[in-house]
Symmetry: C2
Subunit: 149 residues, 2 copies
DNA sequence: GCAAAACTGGATGTCAAAGTCCAGTTTTGA
DNA sequence: TCAAAACTGGACTTTGACATCCAGTTTTGC
């Protein structure tokens, strides 16, 4: 249902949000999120083009979020790499339908709308803050030195 | 978001529901739904394996729905050709997570759940009955002879 | 200046989904 | 019986997503 690219982009952004506002290298993100490094760099390029992250070359460089985790929604991340396509015109291309969808495609679009809404309503900060019995982020969660036992 | 195969399967089933309980040939369905005939036959084979339709060879044969339109949901059609995959385990394969999903994948799965719910709640009969200003089915809607002007 | 750290962008490889083709089987009706 | 109507199943082609590789560019610190 969701492409690998979207899954990878979200993992990377969650990791970056956890480390924000520090810059992280592609290597660090790749290791923590288990995304193949060469492909991750492509995904990050997409996120950069979409205005979600900034990159900085050279020693000490890396990737950082443009917005704070509290301002960034899942939807923005998804739309940066692979825009969520709502159904706006009849896929059969029937001129007679114009802008109005037939009942089938209307229902399908409602399902897409519910996904869009769920993604729109969730910020990265909320994901990091969510209480859970397991480790909050899928591995690689940053724990400040002073907080470690 | 939804594959071509799912889109094609739904178009075919909506058409069959409209003609139910009559049998339709692959040719008729292909023409009305604008799905390439060779590929449509593959999709229909999937629907047959999934128990959504029955096929009958030979002169006068064709494809029919196994259930009535009122009993058949969109979800059943989708699951027959391409099961909707909920996220049940951590995609990173972390043993430490067990059955509990991290917040990111929990949110993604909630989005999938909302799609599943929307599809579960809609029957083919509801799609055919839905009032709309445009033609109810995307072209090829059956109008009984006695009702034509 | 130079070497190491990092990202960039183009070329390439791999694989599954989408789509096509066709010879074969079943069924009906004349 | 036989031809036409229909579906079946396997082989093949095409396309795009996923993934890799590498030479090139930018930046920093010594």
């Amino acid at each position: 249902m969701f492409s690998q690219t979207v899954e990878y982009a979200l993992r990377a952004v969650v990791f970056l949000a956890d480390r924000a506002p520090a810059a992280c290298t592609t290597d660090q993100i790749s290791t923590a999120t288990k995304v193949p490094k060469p492909y991750l760099s492509k995904v990050l390029q997409g996120l950069a083009r979409g205005g979600v992250v900034q990159t900085q070359r050279g020693v000490g460089g890396g990737v950082t979020l443009v917005k704070t985790p509290a301002e960034l929604t899942i939807l923005e991340v998804v739309n940066a790499v692979e825009p969520l396509q709502r159904i706006r015109t009849c896929p059969l291309g029937l001129a007679s339908h114009g802008v109005k969808l037939c009942p089938l495609h209307h229902r399908m679009d409602q399902a897409l709308a519910s996904v869009e809404r769920a993604f729109q309503e969730t910020t990265l900060a909320e994901i990091l803050a969510e209480p859970t019995t397991s480790v909050p982020l899928c591995d690689g969660r940053h724990v400040p030195i002073e907080a470690q036992g």
